[in-house]
């Protein structure tokens, strides 16, 4: 028994060692990539891109479910984006509020004949409307089956551009975000099949008319920790994985895809929980099956601002759902593991996700349990325990601080020094008790999935507006669009 506990504890140590070394490597790769990207930006003038006649058109797909409070502003913002040629398709996904009426009223929508090629499956479409004010706006009114993926598929069927960009109706894109996200595509249109941009947390920032006036750090501690998490995930994780062409997720809140590839893989899968992760994985599979030479890229400066859960219950649900989505996609694609055909995706990216993302809560909570058991039995090596704690804490803090530093040195969205002070402080504080709570939520997600609970649970939303302007909470807002 004692030997078993000792072996488990040492295995746990090795697990953390490898995990942290991977993080450290990704941090170094991300720092180098960011430096290169910054240099690139100095020699690149976005306004030249804006003037070019050859920039490919983009269709923005905006699924909207019960977004009556923010839909006018959101759509107007999208129509005002800096890009030579865009088409905005809003998919009214069975809203029970006045989302469609708001759109009809604001943009003087009139029904149009077939604009629709049902190449990917989706629920019944009632009607298509085009704006008399701005013909770039098309609205699809469809039945809801409670899936964002289904709504995006409807938009995909109506899209006429070679590239589609998925945007959440409750997110805000910076004005030049499309130009920035398309830079890799323009440099290599033959090989780049998808590009993801960075998603940042909007909570507590000041807005006016749907435009971001001032970026502020949220007030609540777990919201700040989410900011650190997002910085770490995007500025380090995705940046580094994309360098090795092993990016497995492009956020559903903001990503550009080649429309023909998305259609070729059958669009989004409505029954999947993590539809964005699922799509990218299937794109990898599709292209690797055909031995295609392709790249899926990440660009760190086109920013999409989105609202993060501002209460613990919603956060717990979101994280549980992410974990369910992860398990769902990994299970469905388990045949890709260790198959030569899938190269680095099958040998590195997916195994990493299995071991260090999917199983992390089990291993971590299991580890805590074995340590407690060893302590209870009086066989816990104090020396091992301290080594283990210091090791985990120092490494994890270094990675978090690395992401904050990268943000500070390069993108610097948090201009108030007090915000930076708080951000750095939370790099030291996030490890207890937030990390353990996070692990429990993720474990709950796994448990729910095993029990067959794959439903979406509502999250509370504040809505688009400044702290002063914010409308009251909308309890009916759709969880699937976060």
């Amino acid at each position: 028994m004692i030997d078993l506990l000792s072996a488990a504890n040492h295995a746990l140590f090795v697990y953390y060692l490898v995990c942290n070394l991977v993080y450290l490597t990704t941090l170094l790769v991300a720092l180098q990539t960011t430096a290169r990207h910054q240099q690139n930006l100095k020699s690149f003038r976005l306004e030249w891109l804006k003037e070019s006649r050859l920039v490919p058109p983009i269709t923005l797909l905006v699924p909207a479910h019960n977004e009556e409070k923010s839909i006018r502003v959101a759509v107007q913002n999208l129509l005002n984006l800096d890009y030579p040629e865009i088409e905005v398709i809003v998919i009214n996904d069975g809203s029970t509020d006045c989302t469609l009426e708001e759109l009809v009223d604001e943009f003087r929508l009139t029904p149009v004949r077939a604009v629709y090629v049902p190449q990917v499956p989706c629920a019944h479409v009632h009607a298509l409307y085009r704006s008399s004010v701005d013909p770039r706006l098309l609205v699809i009114d469809k039945d809801s089956i409670g899936s964002k993926a289904d709504a995006v598929n409807a938009g995909l069927n109506a899209a006429t551009s070679p590239y589609v960009c998925t945007v959440d109706a409750d997110s805000i894109l910076e004005r030049d975000a499309l130009l920035r996200v398309m830079v890799p595509v323009l440099n290599d249109p033959e090989h780049i099949v998808a590009v993801g941009g960075i998603v940042r947390i909007l909570n507590a920032s000041e807005l006016s008319g749907g435009r971001l006036l001032r970026v502020r750090l949220p007030k609540k501690s777990f919201e700040v920790i989410q900011v650190v998490e997002y910085l770490r995930a995007f500025l380090i994780g995705r940046e580094a994985w994309a360098q090795a062409n092993m990016l497995m997720i492009i956020s559903g809140a903001f990503g550009v895809f080649r429309a023909d590839i998305v259609r070729a893989v059958g669009g989004y899968r409505a029954e999947t929980i993590g539809e964005d992760f699922d799509l990218v994985t299937r794109m990898h599979r599709h292209l690797l099956d055909r031995r295609a030479d392709y790249r899926i890229q990440f660009v760190p400066d086109p920013v999409c601002w989105t609202e993060a859960p501002s209460d613990l219950k919603s956060l717990a649900r979101q994280r549980a759902r992410w974990q369910k989505g992860l398990l769902d996609v990994l299970l469905k694609n388990r045949d890709m593991l260790f198959r030569p055909r899938y190269g680095r995706i099958g040998w590195i990216a997916l195994p990493y996700l299995w071991v260090y993302e999917l199983l992390a809560p089990i291993i971590e909570i299991g580890g805590i349990a074995t340590i407690l058991l060893a302590w209870f039995l009086g066989v816990l090596s104090q020396r091992f325990f301290i080594e283990f704690m210091i090791f985990g804490y120092v490494f994890a803090t270094v990675i978090s601080i690395g992401s904050v530093l990268q943000e500070e040195i390069t993108y610097k969205r948090y201009n108030d020094w007090q915000d930076v002070l708080r951000l750095v402080s939370y790099c030291f504080l996030e490890h207890f008790p937030y990390r353990q709570m996070h692990m429990v939520w993720r474990l709950q997600g796994l448990w729910q999935y095993m029990r067959g609970d794959v439903t979406w649970k509502a999250l509370k939303r504040q809505g688009m507006g400044s702290a002063q302007e914010r409308p009251p909470l909308n309890p009916s807002s759709n969880p699937m669009h976060d």
């Binding site: 020699s43 050859l54 604009v115 098309l138 249109p189 020396r383 080594e387």
Partner: protein, 407 residues
């Protein structure tokens, strides 16, 4: 790892933990100090810069005219960078007269020579930045240095050189790009090259022809796309010859360029291209036919309305709808053709152009004529009587309200 821990362990557990806490606090402090110092430095730098920019702006005309001796600012790196940035930004929005004035200033002060020198002597990012700056000036004397940049081993530098040449928009720059492309192939993103050539070949599209005839397949296709985007002037003969090329891209480019030809479009050539086996060649030809307001184009567009490709049908319908004076006659022909996909495409184009009500009014005006009632029925029902529409919009029936520019 073990040895490190052993050394640390020798310090004793309590002391060790304490030291770690102190270490973490110190690291935290150092990090914050770094950030604060950096922020303070940057604030001071930008405040200083802002003050200097304001100073220069106040006496900008005197600075440009040379009333203020150039040496008062150009020997100071900080000041010189500010002045150069202001001038380069001014180039972006300057009219020709202002551009000439700015260019004169850049020449007189030696700023252009400095950038040319940097573009030739330096490597890496410094060269790239020099090339970008040179491009922004649009100075003809920078073309040679920019052309040398095309042969740089680094992709980013080559791209910067290409963008710079595109800014000059001069045939000399086009010559350099064409020579480089024919020498090494597509060693930069095709879109960048196309964009540069479109800018630079506008005045003399004929310079593309020798390369279109003799370059490799990939380059010819790229050049064909360029040709399709620029006014081709009196090149009808050459375009008709291209319409018979083996490469579909070239035939499509010829179709796209023909409506712009000075001596009028060659309908016969477009009619042939509208029946090409490759769909995008037909599409280009139909788009071109839609732009030609010639009665003879109508039967060709009517035929294209029954094309097997939905995009071709869609463009044909748009071309027909654009002929507003003949709307009712064309609609009668569409109905007579009894092709439900063609009708669908036509009605969709009509709705997208907001002309359905106009056609209805026109038909009602001709109310006494034979067959008008049937036409009105078809118009309001959106389908041919006796022909069942598909229950759901089908892939083939689908046409769109896509703006014409989305081709």
């Amino acid at each position: 790892m073990g040895s490190i821990f052993e050394k640390l362990w020798a310090l004793g557990p309590a002391g060790f933990v304490l030291k770690i806490i102190v270490g973490a606090v110190i690291a935290d402090g150092l990090l914050l100090a770094f950030i604060l110092l950096r922020r303070t430095y940057r604030k001071q730098y930008f405040d200083r810069r802002d003050r200097r920019v304001y100073d220069f702006r106040q006496k900008w005309d005197a600075l440009l005219s040379g009333e203020i001796p150039y040496d008062t600012w150009r020997l100071n790196d900080f000041d010189r960078r500010i002045v150069e940035d202001i001038v380069l930004d001014a180039f972006e929005a300057a009219n020709p007269a202002e551009s000439a004035r700015l260019l004169r200033f850049m020449r007189t002060t030696g700023l252009i020579e400095k950038r040319i020198f940097e573009a030739r002597k330096f490597r890496g990012w410094r060269r790239t930045r020099a090339l970008v700056a040179l491009g922004r000036t649009r100075a003809p004397e920078g073309i040679a240095a920019l052309a040398e940049g095309l042969r740089d081993p680094h992709e980013e530098t080559r791209n910067a050189a290409l963008r710079g040449l595109a800014r000059t928009a001069s045939p000399e720059a086009a010559e350099e790009i064409l020579a480089w492309v024919s020498e090494v192939g597509l060693q930069a993103p095709a879109l960048l090259i196309q964009n540069a050539l479109i800018n630079c070949c506008r005045e003399s599209p004929r310079m593309l022809l020798p390369y279109l005839q003799h370059a490799g397949k990939e380059v010819r296709e790229m050049l064909a796309r360029v040709l399709g985007e620029i006014p081709v002037g009196a090149m009808e003969g050459e375009l008709i010859a291209l319409a018979g090329d083996d490469l579909p891209e070239l035939r499509a480019a010829a179709a796209r360029a023909l409506p712009n030809a000075q001596h009028g479009p060659a309908l016969e050539t477009l009619a042939e291209l509208a029946q090409d086996p490759i769909w995008f060649v037909r599409l280009r030809a139909v788009v071109a036919l839609g732009e030609i307001f010639d009665r003879d184009a109508v039967p060709l567009l009517m035929r294209a309305l029954t094309d097997s490709n939905r995009l071709v049908r869609m463009r044909a319908a748009e071309g027909l709808v654009n002929r507003k004076l003949e709307m009712s006659a064309i609609f009668a022909k569409v109905v007579a053709a009894a092709d439900r996909y063609g009708l669908h495409a036509y009605l969709a184009a009509l709705e997208n152009a907001g002309l359905k009500r106009e056609l209805e009014t026109e038909l009602r005006r001709r109310g006494s004529q034979r067959g008008v009632g049937h036409l009105l029925t078809v118009l309001s029902a959106g389908k041919l009587s006796g022909v069942e529409e598909p229950a759901k919009p089908s892939a083939d029936a689908a046409t769109s309200a896509v703006p014409a520019s989305r081709r």
